[in-house]
């Protein structure tokens, strides 16, 4: 393909980028220290150490079954690492939003009620009035393009629509840290791209408290267009194989897929994925 610049130039770009890697002045939001985890005799994670900074968008790539979801569960403290490892949050534990790999919707609640559900829990409980919750829920349903389905029940919605509700739910709660497990996997490219940029817009906007985003994804392109750093995990037992800094400026914009820096990064990632 003509688009490709030579290897040398490519490497240069990389070294350059590595230099602009997370500066020490940035605050760490979450830190995984030497986390290993096994289920019975299946060793899933092996000595994973990873820092997530504030105001950072991190993507995680890795082969199917390597332990990405498990990693998120560690960060959510739903699972504890084997002795020796630990998960450390910055002083005050921030509010965390989560999009699981499955939609995890309550079948007895409508789309709107499913979103209001998490708005009524934990720290959000006192903050929000009934009317506010409703407005937030409806706003985030609109964000994901489901304004016409506020009163539908999950079983009346398609797979992609269910997934979008679970994204809307995570966003409505106005989290500081957002963890997402293949949030856009079940969406068509057009909807996916739209939501990608909506999310970025939200993240960049000063009106939301969203600071760090960790997104598990299977799309290399998505990981590049969205994130500051891309974490590549090795196959089970998974460790952090590599971390790539994306040499694209912020804010990201729709045309950036056409920039050389974009497809160089994609290509580099693809190469590393194939060779790991």
């Amino acid at each position: 393909m003509q688009v490709h610049t030579g290897e040398a130039q490519e490497m240069e770009v990389w070294q350059q980028d590595m230099a602009v890697a997370p500066s020490e002045t940035r605050e760490i939001a979450v830190s995984l220290v030497n986390c290993s985890l096994s289920f019975g005799d299946v060793h899933v994670l092996k000595h994973v150490s990873l820092d997530i900074y504030e105001n950072e968008f991190v993507s995680i790539l890795g082969p199917s079954g390597c332990g990405k979801s498990t990693l998120l569960r560690l960060m959510l403290e739903l699972l504890a690492p084997n002795p020796g490892g630990k998960v450390v949050y910055a002083a005050a534990k921030p509010s965390i939003g989560i999009v699981f790999q499955k939609p995890v919707l309550m079948p007895w609640l409508t789309a709107r009620q499913n979103i209001e559900l998490t708005l009524k829990m934990g720290p959000n409980k006192k903050k929000l009035g009934k009317q506010e919750r409703r407005e937030k829920a409806e706003a985030s349903l609109e964000l994901v393009g489901l304004q016409d389905f506020t009163n539908h029940y999950p079983h009346q919605l398609s797979g992609g629509m269910q997934q979008r509700i679970s994204i809307a739910r995570a966003l409505a709660a106005d989290p500081t840290i957002l963890l997402m497990d293949e949030p856009f996997g079940a969406l068509d490219e057009f909807t996916r791209e739209k939501l990608n940029f909506e999310l970025l817009r939200l993240w960049e906007s000063p009106t939301t408290s969203l600071s760090s985003v960790v997104m598990v994804t299977h799309s290399i392109q998505e990981s590049v267009i969205m994130s500051d750093r891309v974490v590549m995990m090795s196959p089970r037992p998974a460790g952090v194989e590599d971390i790539l800094t994306v040499p694209l400026p912020r804010p990201r914009e729709v045309g950036m897929e056409e920039l050389p820096a974009f497809y160089q990064t994609v290509k580099e990632l693809r190469k590393r994925v194939k060779h790991q």
Binding site: V104, K120, A173
Partner: protein, 250 residues
């Protein structure tokens, strides 16, 4: 419309066939009245009086049923939230349940007299266990991922209960209500057996002493009717309540 028709035609048809077979059997085999009265003689024995006895029993049963189910659900809730209490108290509950009501009934009368209360308690005791067992099961039958969701959003035990466990348990709870709806009637009647001057249990007892089997069967029939009434009411509520299970489509 036609579905609804069918739905009420089937039970009617079955009941009719059942009654006819019974009548024929009694006539053909010449079964003596005191062994098994024919439906015709049972129906002849029905009178207005029976209605008032039925009402008494139904009331006792309903009150016992309600108390038992509230208490049973509450106990289940406590059990689900405290493993020590569950492990410790469940055996007591089982022990209590296995205590045959019929053996306890005389004591109930001694402790509580022969008024309403002893029947209500009898009915309560018999209804308590099904709701307890099914609720404990149902409250625990939550999806693992849903539990993860609630934990992540720091849902309190309260949230987890009202917004996750309770809805999840509904199919089990309604099943228990169906089971205990008829047990409630049985309980009230057992209570009445020991000492009462009204209610279906009283009618059964008196008519049994008087060897008036048609009256006895009319009372049994009335108790069955009470049971059906309760059961159908619950089934109806269940359908409204658990709208998200597409059971009827399958």
């Amino acid at each position: 419309m036609s579905e609804k028709w069918k739905n009420s035609l089937y039970p009617l048809g079955f009941a009719l066939v059942f009654v006819l077979l019974w009548e024929l059997a009694v006539r053909a085999l010449d079964i003596p009245l005191y062994l098994l009265p024919a439906p015709s003689s049972v129906i002849a024995a029905v009178d207005a009086n029976l209605g008032s006895h039925m009402l008494v029993t139904l009331m006792e049963a309903l009150v016992g049923f309600l108390i038992a189910n509230v208490l049973g659900l509450l106990t289940a809730i406590i059990f689900v939230h405290s493993k020590p209490i569950e492990k410790g108290a469940f055996p007591l509950a089982i022990a209590l349940k296995t205590t045959p009501l019929v053996a306890l009934a005389p004591l109930l009368v001694v402790w509580m007299g022969t008024g309403y209360s002893s029947k209500v308690v009898a009915s309560m005791l018999i209804c308590f266990f099904p709701i307890l067992v099914n609720s404990v099961k149902g409250l625990k039958a939550i999806e693992y991922e849903a539990w993860e969701l609630f934990s992540t959003y720091k849902g309190s035990k309260w949230d987890m209960f009202w917004k996750l466990r309770l809805p999840t348990s509904l199919p089990y709870v309604m099943s228990a209500l169906k089971i205990s709806s008829s047990l409630a009637i049985v309980g009230a009647i057992v209570g009445e057996f020991v000492g009462a001057n009204k209610g279906l249990g009283y009618v059964v007892l008196i008519s049994s002493y008087h060897m008036d089997t048609p009256v006895m069967f009319s009372a049994i029939l009335a108790s069955a009717a009470c049971g059906l009434l309760l059961f159908w009411t619950i089934a109806w509520i269940e359908k409204k309540l658990i709208f998200w299970q597409r059971i009827d489509e399958i």
